[in-house]
Symmetry: none
Subunit: 278 residues, 2 copies
Amino acid sequence: MTQPPTLDNQTGHDNNPFLHLIHSPAIILVEPQLGENIGTAARAMANFGLRDLRIVNPRDGWPSEKAFKASANAYPVIENARIFTSIEEAIADLQFICATTARPRDMVKQILSPETATETMFHKASENQTIGILFGREKSGLTNDDISLADAIVIAPVDPTCASLNLAQMVLLMGYEWRKQLDPATLGRKTQFDGPAKEGTELKTNRPANKKELVNLFQHLKKELEYAGFLRSVEKTPQMMRNVRNMIIRMQPTDQDVRTLRGMIASLVKGPHDSGQK
Amino acid sequence: MTQPPTLDNQTGHDNNPFLHLIHSPAIILVEPQLGENIGTAARAMANFGLRDLRIVNPRDGWPSEKAFKASANAYPVIENARIFTSIEEAIADLQFICATTARPRDMVKQILSPETATETMFHKASENQTIGILFGREKSGLTNDDISLADAIVIAPVDPTCASLNLAQMVLLMGYEWRKQLDPATLGRKTQFDGPAKEGTELKTNRPANKKELVNLFQHLKKELEYAGFLRSVEKTPQMMRNVRNMIIRMQPTDQDVRTLRGMIASLVKGPHDSGQK
């Protein structure tokens, strides 16, 4: 299994130099029918840091109040959207294009998954190529003519019995996979890139307990368990205490955890009778 | 770059043996507010072949006409959804749980990406463990108490300036990553994968405790700590018990470990006076 990404990689990429060096893909919506769908697609773009929205012949015109509302505050994406009257115009400046489709077409064209498509696009972008992703009409998708303009086809690995994703969902998956390409943790797997200061895989407010604290805890617990008669079998005691040590070590306790555990043990042993005395 | 998956991997997994051998994660929606959101979440599940929907206290009751409509034909998921009155009940039979959150919490808990979380879950499932994913309320997410029942936290790598994903979108991303785990192309990349459920290859005397056993342990411990006067501060009790739950869950106890811990607690409480009686 791969190393889990660090906290920083999960929550923010502000200090990720790749965000500023790599051109993100343009998102090209071909003849979308409903403003709401344009809005939710824009929102999904914003979730993953995509900015370049291009719309070919939106059926209900532009600007669209419905798109604006449905974008749930992703206004910059909507406001900066560019409208085109043909796909050819919309992709004129782009060098590598993927076309999303729900099913393969009868064409000789490379078929990629969202992951391999974004890997390929990232590779192109890192060579300063301009890239984009085509998304079709809600009902009918992209025509074969549309697709013929693309360098590759992208199909999501959906369940064949329930295969249709809506426009915003497909934009979401592509945006998500693109974002993963920019993640230093992902980059680390591919290119040995070390990324920014790795601060461990967990949020730690306390330091891990040291072995001395753990040994003291084990001794405290053993003494009380012996006193209570829990460790009556002399032969079984070593195995039992090994199990207990393994359990507690698996817990990866902090120094505070060790204090809590020792407090609990002392309290359970003392019982309620003395509890008012302190 | 990896080899692009073949067409078969992209469009259908019907002949993928892993689909039938591996238990998919349960999707647990905690106190969802709107039926529409339950419906779109169910649809996202169906898109990626997930079937086991569990709902804790849906605000607007159940069954929900709105959920049914919004599911866009994912009726089997909606019709087979199970309703629970507490998270503890909803996860009682599960052995490994991830909690989806928008931000890290002040807890010592492993933080995973959707990808690493599903890798981990796939690994657990291939050892025949039962797995699930918790999703919080639309407005407020999961509470720290909810999260303390989970083995790990999942955070999607969103843009920090536009970080919120809706319920169905988060379910979509998790379902998508889960599906990728089952994809033969993905499996091909995993060098360590030996296939599911090989009996006899590993000496396993114990199974991981399920959440019901853990909840019973927490309740037992809490009762005794209260009785002993350890939990005297009413305000601090919830935080203290969260810490204890987190510690024990990090321990990844087996069913035998839970019995050992409960035996230790009982013994410490009873003390030496009765030890000669048996």
